[in-house]
């Protein structure tokens, strides 16, 4: 199982604040990994650095052996990394079908979609995320859970090898969360490497076999969810000094 994503000594600073501090770790092809850390730990920044929305001050990101540090976002997508966003975004005035079609029109997505016809392929993705009966509706009137599914669908349209999910559960009811969980499990089974982050740890910690923990931009530890949740520094980061007793 080769290494699909390698982060080496990644650092990102804003004036006065170090958001990501000398961060390194690896993900192997086919893995299912979670990234946790209290608010402001730097999780979304890591995602932005991987997906090209921000450039690091130093360090490197390698995807499938290839250096993608600082590459333009659309190029990174076309190499095989797709992501969703914490704050749901969509093409508000276009139908759900068109929302997915856009991803299918990326150069990477087109390679696959062309064989079936763009609209047909987009439809099948909508079906995979359970939204096909709403194909002609614009996202404006959809409930939050469906919007999160739509995001995942849009990511799938680019035929990704690695899927970055930024907080896929926040703001959802328990049923909605279960729906997303089932979807993610299915994707992983189909061979997509999944890297996800979240605050709603109740779902995440029972979903992923491996967790990476960060705090104040720095790598703390990694391991199984049990191990990480019992780690002294992690507990302190989340609950405050003196929280070992709660372990």
């Amino acid at each position: 199982m080769g290494v699909i994503l390698e982060i080496k000594n990644l650092t990102k600073k804003y004036s006065g604040l170090t958001a990501v501090n000398d961060f390194s770790f690896e993900i192997h092809r086919g893995e299912f990994v979670g990234l946790i850390g209290p608010n402001g730990a730097g999780k979304t920044t890591i995602f932005n650095l991987i997906s090209g929305l921000e450039r690091p001050n130093s360090g490197a990101v390698r995807f499938d052996g290839r250096d993608i540090t600082g590459m333009k976002p659309y190029k990174i997508v076309n190499l095989g990394i797709a992501r969703t966003f914490q704050l749901v975004r969509s093409f508000r005035f276009m139908t759900l079908l068109d929302n997915i079609s856009v991803s299918c029109l990326s150069s990477r997505g087109k390679e696959v979609a062309k064989q079936y016809g763009i609209d047909e392929y987009a439809s099948s993705i909508l079906a995979a995320v359970g939204l096909v009966d709403k194909a002609r509706i614009p996202p404006i009137i959809l409930p939050h859970g469906d919007l999160r599914k739509l995001q995942i669908g849009k990511a799938l349209g680019t035929n990704p090898q690695l899927l970055l999910l930024d907080e896929p559960f926040s703001g959802l009811s328990h049923e909605e969360q279960k729906g997303i969980t089932d979807l993610i499990i299915k994707l992983h089974d189909d061979g997509v490497t999944v890297f996800m982050t979240g605050h709603v740890l109740r779902e995440l910690m029972h979903l992923v076999p491996r967790v990476v923990a960060m705090h104040q931009g720095k790598f703390i530890t990694e391991g199984s969810p049990q191990e990480v949740a019992n780690n002294k520094i992690v507990l302190e980061a989340y609950l405050g000094k003196g929280s070992e007793q709660l372990a």
């Binding site: 659309y74 997508v77 093409f91 276009m94 079609s101 856009v102 680019t158």
Partner: protein, 347 residues
């Protein structure tokens, strides 16, 4: 391969049925009716004055449609569309007067100049968004005006006087009328069809969420520039016809007023409709003519003078529209007419 051929065949064979159904929709029926009137008008009258009003309206339709395409479908609002309009007008005038080109040869030159400029402006304005893009394009237009009027190169660029005695497209107003009518119809059809293709979907995605489009794998830079080029091509087409109609061109063609005229026309008819530009342009031009007569009633009355100036009236209308009716003034009126139509057809 075979899938594409199959799709093409479906579309081709299905077209007549599609057309038959379209005619009976409100939009289709209305459009056909208007086209009917437009085609018959020169038969009813050969008065150059009346034909001229229609010709001007059609030229502005092409101009406004080009703006609507860029703003309504790719989200790039330009306040300086006169750039392409004016440069093409200059190109057409120059090649007609000094190089003895045919009208369509000159038009080709004009459009080429406009497209090239569209490419350059698109690249310059890539990093500008929203109000900054609007200001940026407006500034470029003003700079061009200065360049042609008082800049260092003004002697090479015909300065204040500009180019005069530009030969018309044809000596017969009727020929001019029908030529421009055909080009107007082609423009609207082409632009609408583009929005329905895959590339149109990409344009709309850039409009709705540029970062989202980028993270869906779309090279937004490339498509933004392409959109600029398509829009500027048609703006250039309009500019070329304008030069041949007015029969002269000067630095004033770059003034912000013309850019705003197009904005108002497109907004009046409904942004992101393309066909709305026709409604907006015709309404604007007709109202201008009527208002002009208003002023002549009593030239000394200041209030009347103010109200007869289309710029004044339309600025007021635009402000009201932005505040209350962001979807275009004519749409609600048309909605009501549509209900009437439905009743007529017994639905």
């Amino acid at each position: 391969m075979s899938l594409n051929i199959q799709k093409f065949r479906e579309k081709f064979i299905g077209f007549p049925t599609y057309l038959k159904h379209w005619v009976f929709t409100f939009k289709g029926g209305m459009t056909l009716f208007c086209l009917f009137i437009l085609f018959l008008f020169p038969i009813v009258t050969q008065n150059p004055y009346f034909l001229g009003i229609f010709i001007l309206a059609m030229i502005y339709t092409i101009f406004a449609a080009s703006w609507d395409f860029l703003a309504g479908f790719t989200g790039q609002v330009s306040f300086g569309h006169a750039i392409f309009f004016g440069l093409s007008a200059y190109g057409v005038s120059a090649t007609l007067v000094f190089n003895n080109f045919t009208w369509w040869g000159a038009l080709l030159v004009g459009v080429t100049i406009a497209v090239t400029t569209g490419f350059i402006v698109g690249i310059i304005c890539l990093r500008l968004k929203g109000p900054y893009l609007a200001l940026g394009t407006m500034v470029i237009a003003i700079m061009l005006q200065d360049l042609f009027k008082i800049g260092q190169l003004k002697d090479y660029l015909w300065g204040d006087q500009g180019i005069n005695d530009v030969p018309p497209l044809s000596n017969s107003s009727t020929v001019v009328y029908y030529t421009i009518l055909i080009f107007m119809i082609i423009t609207i059809i082409v632009l609408i069809q583009i929005t329905k293709t895959n590339i149109g979907t990409i344009f709309k995605s850039i409009r709705d969420d540029e970062t989202g489009a980028e993270t869906s794998g779309i090279n937004t830079t490339k498509y933004k520039v392409i959109a600029f080029m398509i829009s500027s091509a048609f703006a250039g087409l309009a500019g070329g016809f304008y030069a041949m109609y007015i029969r002269s061109v000067g630095p004033l063609i770059f003034q912000p007023l013309y850019s705003f005229y197009v904005l108002i026309m497109a907004a009046l008819g409904g942004i992101a409709t393309i066909s709305g530009s026709a409604l907006g342009a015709f309404t604007f031009i007709f109202l201008s003519e009527i208002l002009r007569d208003l002023n002549e009633l009593d030239p000394s009355n200041a209030l009347l003078t103010a109200f007869s100036d289309p710029a004044f009236i339309f600025s007021v209308i635009l402000i009201i529209m932005i505040r209350f009716v962001s979807q275009g003034l004519l749409r609600p009126i048309l909605e009501h007419l549509k209900e009437f139509w439905d009743i007529l057809l017994g639905r």
